[in-house]
Amino acid sequence: MMEFFQTLGRNTRSSFTKLGRATFFLLHTLTGIIGLLPRPRLLINQLYSVGVLSFLIISISGLFVGMVLGLQGYYILSDFGAEETLGVMVAASLVRELGPVVAALLFAGRAGSALTAEIGLMKATEQLSGMEMMAVDPIKRIISPRFLAGLISMPLLAGLFSAIGILGGQLVGSGLLGVDDGAYWSQMHAKIDFYDDIVNGCIKSLVFGFVATWIALFEGYDAIPTSEGVSRATTRTVVNSAFSILGLDFILTALMFGDD
């Protein structure tokens, strides 16, 4: 029993220590972003590997999620004779929830794990240490551009996910199941609010992008520099990102849409 509490205490303490390290890491990363201004090339390279390489999986997933929503929504709504509100249902669920959340989860799986593996490998092969000895700050040179790229990419990817999903829902709803095309759009138009829905969705995806990129980069930077350590860190990135995204989603949803 005593042992249990000792382990518990040790684990709690070590997770606080880790959180502290992660916070310092984040502050250091943020100060490095200013240094990127004269060197946009570093950011563009990372936008490519973080954003462009996630583009395909995000668009295809968005299309399918939208199509499924169109199909399921139609079956449920037609029971109430409310097929015209299909557009509202598809758009609201995508813009408020699925767009930011699913895009962030996919982002954590695609770009996040790649970032952790890349940084972890750089650590294991002494590239980070080597940079330090060349008087180059690896956080500013390596981490900051990746962080900013993640922060920029995430809202764009979530927006794309939602937009493509809404088109996919329309494809199924009005193309396949015969919902009136005008009703699909006009109902959506009337019900989806720019500030309440779109802006809040963007804020969500920004927060998710911030957290997912932070976790991915920190896990890589903090990884035990062996192949096993890196592979564990990669797993932790995906698991921790998923938890954080879903947990934060609940909090943000309560804050944003609570007092309707």
Partner: protein
């Protein structure tokens, strides 16, 4: 005595250095001097913290006690920007080479120049080609690091380490895992760079043969202490049994072949228990 002369002329002076990692004492009260323009080697068995010593000199680790002075300034008292300025004058060759994997050979060698200087691209090109020429890899400039053999990677890393024309260079196990030809090439390069550029050189290695061939002075380190020091010939004829065993590579001696254990017979007889 000769000692005071040495410390006057030394670029790096380590005084009373102690360092531990967790419970493990890596160094206790170690003092060393690294003379300007000379090749000084630190030798010792694997896992005695030789790499740690280089990181302490480079200011990547903080010692528990003692000082490291490089070119007159105490490394661990420097502010971050001062430390970075000092590091620009120190080249370091990591065991793995530590080349940046997402850049080709040329960009790797150009990296410190691009980071620390505002030189025009044409001048960077000439400088990089000269450094690559010095290590004999000018023709390999478009290869990616994963296309290089281990020895070539180390030579590229060497070209990168001398890109900013440092005052000293530290080698971490330069010969480990190299075939005889690569070893020969590296031995030749280290020696010739030391002479032509007047580089103060620190080599950490456990390759007795190669290291004694080029070193001017050798420290033999084990268990966190300096077990012996001197010129290669002094070390060869050291009176210390331990140093003798290390230099000759005999299996048993002061360092036992067996990991500490109770008597074999007792162990065999006590069946039933797992340990």
């Amino acid at each position: 005595m000769g000692d005071s002369f040495r410390s006057q002329n030394s670029l790096v002076a380590v005084r009373g250095l102690s360092f531990s990692r967790g419970e493990n004492k890596i160094f206790s009260d170690v003092s060393m001097d690294f003379e300007r323009g000379k090749i000084t080697a630190i030798m010792g068995p694997s896992g005695t913290g030789k790499t740690t010593l280089l990181k302490l000199i480079g200011g990547q680790l903080q010692p528990a006690q003692g000082t490291v002075t490089v070119d007159g300034s105490n490394v661990h008292r420097l502010r971050r920007s001062q430390l970075f300025n000092l590091r620009k004058r120190i080249g370091m060759l990591f065991q793995s080479g530590a080349l940046l994997m997402d850049m080709n050979v040329f960009d790797n060698v150009a990296f410190p120049l691009r980071e620390h200087t505002q030189l025009p691209e044409s001048m960077i090109r000439s400088l990089v080609l000269m450094k690559l020429q010095a290590v004999g890899l000018r023709g390999a400039r478009n290869l990616m690091p994963n296309e290089l053999s281990g020895g070539m990677a180390r030579r590229v890393a060497l070209a990168r380490a001398i890109a900013l024309d440092p005052m000293m260079i530290m080698y971490d196990e330069p010969f480990t895992g190299q075939d005889p030809i690569s070893k020969g090439v590296l031995v030749h390069l280290i020696k010739s760079l030391n002479i032509t550029l007047g580089l103060t050189t620190i080599i950490v290695s456990h390759d007795v043969h190669e290291t004694s061939a080029i070193a001017d002075y050798i420290y033999v380190v084990s268990d966190g202490k300096v077990m012996g020091e001197g010129t290669p010939s002094e070390i060869q004829h050291s009176s210390s049994e331990w140093v003798q065993q290390f230099m000759d590579g005999t299996a048993d001696g002061p360092v036992h072949f067996h990991y500490p254990a109770r008597e074999l017979q007792d162990d065999l007889m006590s069946s039933g228990k797992r340990y």
